[in-house]
Amino acid sequence: MNSISLDQVGVRLGETTALEGISLNLGARRIAIIGENGSGKSTLARVIGGLVAPSSGSLRVHGVDPVRQKRELRRLVAFVFSNPDAQIIMPTVGEDVAFSLRSEKLSRPEEEARVSGALAAFGLSELAGRSAHELSGGQKQLLALCGAFVRRPDLVIADEPTALLDTRNSRTVADHLFLGGDHQLVLVTHDPRLALRCDTAVLVGSGRIHAVGDPVEVLATYERSLAC
C-alpha cells in the first residue's frame, strides 16, 4: 500500500507542458527527485502531494487518488517547501505547530501533548512562545518540518528543503527528514549528498523521466547528461 504509482501522468500549466507521459512505481522508503531547474521535478512532487492536478493520466498515492480523495490525501501527506516564511501561518512557534492539528479536532490536553512532543523532537521547546518570524532561517525550516511531522504523516514530500540553509542547518534538517519516523520520503533536491542518502532516485528532464533506480547510477547519468 505504501507506494506511489503514476500512469501516463501529464501536466500542462497554461501553454507549457510541465510533465508528459510520466509512468512510475515508487515503493522505496526514501526517494530523491533530481534534475535541472525547470525540469519538472517540483511539479512532479506537487502532483504526488495533490497540490497540482494532472491534466492527463492517473495516479495513486498510498492507495489514495489525490484528485478524488483530497481529504484522505491531506491526512497522509505532509509537505515541506524551500521557503519556510511562506509556511508559517500562526504568530508563535507553538501556535504554528498546533495549527497543523486543527483538522484533527483533538482535545486541548491531547493537542498540547502532541505539540510539546513535536517541539521537543525538533529542539524547539524553548522557542515555543517566540514569534515564529523572528527565528533564524534554519529554525524556521525546523519549525516547518515540525509542523509537518506533528501530523504523523505516512508520506513526507520535501521540495528543496535545504536550499536556503547553511551546511549545519542543512544537515540538521536532512537528519530529521531521513531519521525521524517511519514515513516514506519524497525529496526534491539539487544536493547530490542528500540524493545519495535515498534508496531510489528519479531523474527528471524536460518534463519526462530520464532515469530511475539506484541513486549512484542515476546521479552518474545526470552528470553525463550535464557534460553533453
Partner: protein
Amino acid sequence: MLSLYRPGHGLLHRLPTGRKALLLMLVVLGLSFLPSTYWAAGLAWVVAVLGYLLGGLGLSELWRQLIAVRWLIGITLLAQLIFMPLEAAAANSSRVVAAILLAGLLVLTTRLTDLLAAVERGLAPLARLGIDPERMALLLAVTITTVPVLARLGAGVREAQRARGARGGLATFVVPFLVVSLKHADELGEALSARGVQ
C-alpha cells in the same frame, strides 16, 4: 510578526476568551460615556493601569504599549487641542488611549488560536448566511501573520534597488513589491493547502 500574546497566569489569562472580550468591551464602552473632564481623564488612566495590574502584565508592559502608540497619542491630543479646550482634549485623548490599551489586553492575554476559536464561535450564526466562520478566522490569522512578512519583502525590494543604484521612489517600488507579494501569496496558498486547509 505581530506576536502580541504574553504568556502568564493572571486573572485575564484565565478568563475564557468570549467573556474576556465582553468584559473589556463593556469597560471600554463605560469609559466612552465619561464626561470630558479632568477627573474622567484620570479615571480612564486608573482603569487602564488597573487592567494591566489585574491582568498580571504589570506596568512595564503598559509602558511598552504606550510607547507603541505614542504617535497616535500625540496626533490625537494635538488635533483636539486645535479645536477644543485643554480639559476636553485631555479627557478625550485619555479615553481613546485607555480604550486602545484595554483592547490590547485581549490580544496580550489570549493565544491567537484561542482568539480564532472565539471568532469562529462568534461568527457561527453567520454560517446560515453562507459565511464560513472557520475560513473567516483563518483569514484573520493569515492577515495578522502576513503584515511583518510584507514589511520584510518591502525592505528586500528597497535593498535590491539601492544595491543596483536605483533611486527610491513610489513608482519604482510598487511593481517589484507587488510581484514579490503575489509570489508570497501563491506560496502561502500552496502551504495552506498542504497543511489541510481546503
